[in-house]
Amino acid sequence: MDHIRNFCIIAHIDHGKSTLADRLLQVTKTVTEREMQDQVLDDMDLERERGITIKSKAIQMEYTYKGQTYILNLIDTPGHVDFSYEVSRSIAACEGALLLVDATQGIQAQTISNLYLALEHDLEIIPVLNKMDLPSAMPEEVKDQIVDLIGCPRSSIIPASGKTGQGVEDILAAIIERIPPPQGDPDAPLQALVFDSVYNSFRGIIAYYRILNGRLRKGDKVLFMSTGKDYVADEVGTLKLQLQPKDEVSAGDVGYIVSGIKNAREVRVGDTITHAEKPCDAPIKGFENVKPMVFAGIYPVDTDDFEELRASLEKLQLNDASLTFEPETSAALGFGFRCGFLGMLHMEIVQERLEREFNMNVITTVPNVSYIAYTRKGEKITVNTPSDMPDPTQLDHIEEPFIKAQIITKPEYIGPIMSLCMDKRGIIKNQSYLTTDRVELIFEMPLAEIVFDFYDKLKSISRGYASFDYHIIDYRESDLVKLDILLNGDQVDALSALIHRSRAYHFGRRMCEKLKELLPRQQFQIAIQAAIGSKVIARETLSALRKDVTAKCYGGDISRKRKLLERQKEGKKRMRQIGTVEVPQQAFLAVLKLNQ
């Protein structure tokens, strides 16, 4: 065990984590030059394109240092707030962390929140200043920030560049010298922390774990403590670039288990694996059942594709246990699914994966968060879609999730960020200077307010110099109303939204205006209304189409006009009929475009 080091890398998105990881793999000869593709650890297309690591992975490296061979387990962590629980479990599996900071950008909000997580778990922090090769690097300034933040000696910060390979050997040395070897008793009852799982279409779910105590042998009967289900360990081993089967994995090490599990939901991140016959006393602390917080309807563009969409979502769920879905019907969109996501990025990723990996054309409706409604009779109802909302006469009160939002920015942007957050019903809780030009702002605000356009706005008002992280804290009572959209008196269920009463009027008016832009004119007038219950709060009128352009039509005009009309007709085929009104797909996304 003295020759094992388990570590992860804490970094803000784009600070070069994956590139540095690639370098480590290269220098330790874990991958050959031939196998080397940029960002080896991110193997989904989407990840490589977006440059973010969505699912965490682990990899084992061997490195000879001062004549001794060490096993270094790198546990890769996702870098986005939507996946912060997964990050916390990866951290719990390590003894040390590389704190990677972009020398051109300095410390960002996510770095800090993940750093706090690491400190909570008593991880040894090795600060690394990345992207030193860039001319815009400001190493001295960023070093000041790091020293201020973790109180480490200035000399312990390693300058590096994932791109050029600078500092990589120093980092490997520091991992071995500074990170303590794992503790644990190989002879105690088995206690292994699941920090990730992947789906393999031939082998089922492959769970990744870190053994705290005991040994896991091939053929053992194991118990997953949170689900209470037991399985036979068909294969165990360690994680190189490919799986490396072994007879035994023991305390301190990181490994995988294949046990014929078919459904990702049975393998939960944070769960404890133990022996069925001789279980450990208690599961490892920190397990949480992650609940989706953002919900949206996903509908096939072509109503005939409903079953295919179901099959695609099921397949997606096999390796994305945090995705939930259940069938839902909409008068406007037909049959589809109400899907639950960890956050907005997760939603976008699911939508894109459906389109790319499964070739599905989908319409995603207005996202909302999960509310809790209390009826007069004292019933507690979870509201994941506007139509779940109880009748106003039955409703006692409703609660919505609140988050603690942490924003790190430069002092000159405090003003605009404050007003943005206040505008989003945020309450400022704290403001502190991390360094002279880095301010941390803590807000409490409703999750619902960051669902739409918060990131974009934050980015634009701070010219990109603001980073953001959040955690759900609690549910609080809130004055929410269901806002309906009506077209010529027919309610469009897919456009209903739950919204705070103070924002309903503004939101309703904007929706009507946007729909007026997006709906094609038809042979009759269309009234676009926003209503709360039976009270109309906004209205726009789309006048009837009385006339086309009666232009000349000779030689080449004919084919141009035909093509134009053919395109229009083609677009019309994909429209949805609401009462007498034909509604194009993009209108269903109107709410997402309110700011464009």
């Binding site: 006339k547 009666t550 039509c553 035909r562 009309l565 053919e566």
Partner: protein
């Protein structure tokens, strides 16, 4: 005829034409020069008149190169369009007509139209055109309001336009078209009607009433885009369209196509070919040819047009119409014509299934837009305002 940019330019395939002798052929010659650019026009033209002579030679080259395509056919019409064909010197026009008569086989009553700008109309030119065999003039009056003509960047004034119309009649032209434009920002309906009254005094045989449209890459489009000018609202332009139609019909003109009116017996033989899907051979830069199945458009660039023809190559873009494209164009153009759509004709051309489908789609229309007969329907005056919309409704995709 349009100057749309050409993405795929390739030498035209040569082969036997599909023109049937029975339906004959119309010939269009595009003269791609103007002295100045009208602010609304997107036809292809150049204001560089230097190489006009060479271009006329290139036209002759193209005519000879494509001789096979028109040699056997009876020519029903010849149309000089542009640009500004009245910029041609008498000798240049004479050369082209001479070539036409040598190569082609026109029917005795062949319609030969020359588009002319009022500023080019004088007794000398009129006499020349008459002598050369031009039997129809199309006069680009557009408006009689000088301020409007100036805004359009036309080269003539209101009185000059009227004078040209008068002189043309005096010179013995008995088939004259007058172009007028409506839906012009700042031009009241009453003004248009006044203009019309003045024009009707001269009893032109044909009137084309064009709605001003905002075509991309024109000065007008730029003014609209930058908010300098607001296009006429559709309620107003619709009213202008309807009023013009009522007045001209009561004055004895048939509103035989959405943008065209004619006294009985004077419908444009050449332009009708486009609406009936009949073959037309187009010569000159940007000119469009159609043989009933294949449409080609010459390169819309004078220099490229000329240099390629010097090498004996005709650059054009080709589109072979699919059966549904043919049907859609048929519907599109038929609905624009006064006689409307005949179910018998539709069945004969496209089969009973297509006929049934189209019949049932049209059956859902309001009686306000279409007038039904035993063997088909036609659009009402109101319906014509929605011609594109209604045609698209019938389209097969």
């Amino acid at each position: 005829m349009h100057g749309i940019p050409h993405k795929i330019i390739h030498p035209a395939a040569t082969g036997k034409p599909l023109f049937l002798p029975k339906v004959g052929l119309g010939v269009y010659i595009h003269i791609p020069f103007c002295k100045r650019a009208c602010h609304y026009c997107d036809f292809y033209f150049s204001t560089q008149l230097r190489y006009k002579k060479e271009l006329v030679q290139a036209l002759a080259r193209e005519a000879r190169l494509r001789q096979e395509e028109w040699a056997g056919a009876e020519i029903h019409s010849l149309y000089f369009g542009g640009g500004t064909p009245s910029l041609l010197e008498p000798s240049e026009l004479a050369d082209l007509l001479d070539l036409f008569h040598r190569l082609a086989n026109p029917v005795p009553e062949v319609e030969i139209t020359l588009e002319v700008n009022p500023e080019d109309v004088n007794s000398k030119n009129l006499a020349t055109w008459k002598k050369l065999g031009i039997n129809r003039l199309s006069l680009g009056l557009q408006s009689l309001q000088t301020r409007i003509l100036q805004w359009m960047n036309r080269g003539h004034s209101g009185p000059q336009g009227l004078e040209a119309l008068k002189k043309a009649g005096e010179a013995g032209f008995d088939n004259i078209n007058v172009d007028i434009i409506f839906a012009i920002p700042g031009l009241e309906l009453s003004c248009i009607l006044n203009d019309l009254r003045e024009i009707l005094k001269f009893q032109p045989t044909h009137i084309s009433c064009y709605e001003l449209t905002c075509e991309p890459r024109t000065a007008y489009a730029h003014e609209v885009k930058t908010g300098k000018i607001f296009p006429v609202e559709e309620a107003a332009s619709g009213e202008q369209f309807l009023t013009l139609s009522e007045i001209l019909e009561s004055a004895g003109y048939n509103h035989y196509e959405i943008s065209n009116y004619a006294r009985p017996g004077f419908e444009a033989i050449h332009n009708r070919r486009y609406w009936e899907g009949l073959p037309v051979l187009g010569l000159g830069p940007s000119a469009v040819s159609f043989d009933g199945r294949m449409r080609t458009q010459n390169v819309a660039h004078n220099i490229r047009y000329m240099t390629s023809l010097q090498k004996g190559v005709r650059l054009c873009e080709t589109e072979i119409l699919t059966p549904s494209a043919l049907l859609n164009e048929y519907l599109l153009t038929r609905l624009r014509l006064q006689e409307g759509l005949s179910f018998t004709a539709l069945r004969q051309r496209f089969g009973p299934d297509a006929e049934q489908r189209i019949r049932s789609r049209a059956a859902k229309w309001s009686p306000q837009v279409a007038e039904w007969r035993s063997d088909g329907f036609r659009l009402t005056r109101q319906g014509r305002l929605l011609a594109d919309h209604l045609a698209a409704d019938l389209f097969e995709i």
